[in-house]
Amino acid sequence: MQLNSISTQPGTPVILGSLPNPPIQDQTCPRRATIEIDLMLLAIEALELEGSEAILQTAKELELDEIIKDRVSLWRLRNTNPLRRHNQRRGLTLTEAKALVIVGCYLARRLTVLIRQLLLAYQQLREQGLSMEHHFRLNDYLERFRAHFRSRMNPRRAAVAENYSDEKLNELALNLLTELLFCTGTYGIQRFWFSLFDGEVA
């Protein structure tokens, strides 16, 4: 967490130094982390129309385009998520994971206002016992998230099949919205990063 954890490897973008390596054995991400990171980006794409373009653009601005080079390389990184239809069966390295997390959190920060609005709307609808369709923008987000999820995740996977209904996917989308809110904070990136390794360290 402290400064001495900043990577001194030449050619490593400095910004990655804000995230220390977790005390895990190998240099690849645990399974749950690859799922979480991909889903978080999926939620951003459901919030922002040109989400995947924004991911590439932000990677460039943050000088992370050595890691996230183009559409194909982004697609490959995200398909390390084992739930994907086109799962790559390769691991996501810690460096790649850091880059994705940093880009995702920056995008979330840009969407702070919208995220707060949607979460407040969600809470109000719940209090009034109304369905999500009553809020246009929230409904829009949920619809897009469901479509993205269904078109990209492999329904043969148990975790996907069990969460394929509209209700389950809405629940997931709203959970992710909450996660995104916490990513927007001063230490949001770090908090999200560490949570990815919960239960993975000895």
Partner: protein, 473 residues
């Protein structure tokens, strides 16, 4: 001189009053560091009375907020803070959108009964509290000893606290559907599949090695199903009973670590070929190619084998394999080299490292990789695709496909290799030319095939075709 610090967010303000330990040396305008806190006051929207206390309260607030946020993000455990009654501040999840902050007032003596304040916050309000805390932690001029202190929860903490959590707060379960499902899933063994050198997964019989019980009611691992179906050996067959130890022999292949060192593989490959060649006495009985996956230990001993086509399953007795494998199959975990062995109908033995040769493990058909042959096929593929557009391309992104083609240019099958390709496959000429490769699609192919990478570019559908493994030099 007292110093004040204010961290103000829409739903939460955190006010600190404290002292600095350095005497100001005329730098009246400089922001003095606060090294000691006298009073911390936290005002939350909707509650007139602020929460307040000294350093103990502040430390406890920071800790509770940090832990709870981490639980919220990982979705793994929602009761950790509540488990520590010594803490002044505790946070508990009430519902998807509500979070309860419980603050015990500091008691001066044991005689005073402690008073607990409860404040319910929605997610956005709670986030503002987290953000106020984070701004304080990030502020190096205020309580520099108070910094962000995060670390991932250990495996042990998760497991232990999940069980106690279930007993204490049953209502807290079901908080996040997929998060929980994801955790359960992450406890299941990851189906071990060969790296995708092939279009078909090679290894169907993944051994369930972990003892983790699966509380889900679903079949233990439906994800194994497609790959298992891809292995003919897994099908019940009358001849299986003739060689009862086949299952064990296959298990040997599946469970042992693999030798991948190139030089060692070459040596072992030669040894294996000689051994098989010498001991194969019933050559004339073999009328068609029999293909096996054979596992060999580091010292060259044959440890196990697996028939990869129906003929090889039925005709194992006509090969020397049964005589070479050990009678007693132990739980071998020694490193193992995998080879593709073909006993040809013409009486030859072919041995090659498994990973290098397999295109279609089902048929044992070799792949076309020679440059001149690929060059001959490529234009045939190009013209077929170009001639079969039925409508104008509508897609905006590049579509990438893996396409398997016969020597004469006939498309056998194809698989989309990016999301756009999966979405727009039906709009391309490919469905007319071949069938999609499904996981369970194992129809054997009778002749060698070539693998191509086909990239279709917007807006006009321009083609870029190259051999899947690049051009040979």
């Amino acid at each position: 001189m007292t110093i004040q610090r204010l961290y103000s967010l829409p739903n939460c303000t955190l006010l600190l009053e404290g002292l600095g330990d350095v005497i100001s040396l005329g730098q009246s305008d400089a922001r003095l560091p606060m090294s000691m806190v006298i009073n911390a006051e936290c005002r939350l929207a909707g509650y007139e009375k602020p929460l307040s206390g000294g350093r103990e309260f502040l430390d406890s607030l920071v800790k509770a907020v940090s832990q709870y946020t981490q639980d919220l993000l990982s979705g793994l455990n929602t009761t950790r803070a509540a488990n520590d009654p010594a803490q002044l501040v505790q946070i508990q999840r009430l519902s998807e959108t509500m979070h309860r902050l419980r603050v015990r007032s500091q008691t001066e003596g044991s005689s005073t009964p402690s008073h607990t304040t409860e404040i319910d916050l929605n997610t956005v309000q709670f986030f503002d509290l987290v953000e106020a805390v984070d701004q304080l932690l990030a502020d190096a001029q205020t309580l520099p000893d108070l910094t962000l202190n995060l670390k991932p929860l250990s495996r042990r903490e998760i497991v232990r606290e999940r069980t106690t959590g279930q007993q204490i707060v049953p209502a807290a379960i079901g908080v996040s559907g997929l998060a929980a499902a994801t955790v359960l899933l992450s406890l299941l063994p990851v189906p071990k599949v060969e790296p995708p050198k092939d279009l078909y997964p090679v290894r169907g019989q993944t051994s369930q090695t972990t003892s983790t019980p699966s509380p889900t009611t679903a079949p233990p691992s439906p994800t194994n199903a497609p790959t298992a179906a891809a292995t003919p050996a897994a099908n019940p067959s009358p001849t299986t009973s003739a060689s009862p130890d086949l299952k064990k022999l296959e298990d040997t292949l599946a469970k042992s670590p693999e030798i991948t060192d190139g030089a060692q593989l070459t040596t072992l490959s030669q040894q294996l070929r000689e051994k098989l060649d010498q001991s194969w006495t019933s050559r004339s009985a073999v009328t068609q190619d029999l293909t096996y996956q054979v596992g060999v230990s580091g010292d060259g001993a044959v440890l196990g084998y697996k028939p990869v086509n129906p003929a090889s399953l039925e005709n194992t007795s006509k090969t020397p394999l049964l005589n070479l494998v050990p009678r007693q199959v132990g739980t071998a975990s020694a490193p193992l080299a995998l080879f593709k062995v073909v006993f040809t109908g013409s009486g030859n033995v072919e041995v090659a490292p498994w990973r290098q040769v397999m295109t279609s493990p089902i048929s044992g058909i070799s792949e076309i990789t020679e440059t001149n042959r690929l060059e001959a096929i490529l234009p045939k593929l190009t013209s077929q695709i170009n001639q079969n557009w039925s409508k104008d391309p509508m897609f905006q992104e590049e579509l990438i496909f893996k396409v398997r083609v016969k020597q004469d240019g006939t498309v056998v099958d194809y698989s989309p290799e990016n999301d756009a390709a999966a979405r727009y496959a039906q709009d391309t000429p490919l469905p007319k030319l071949g069938k999609p490769i499904a996981n369970g699609n194992t129809a054997p192919i009778e002749e060698p095939i070539a693998l191509f990478k086909v990239v279709i570019k917007p807006p006009s559908g321009a083609l870029e075709i190259s051999p899947w493994r690049g051009w040979q030099n």
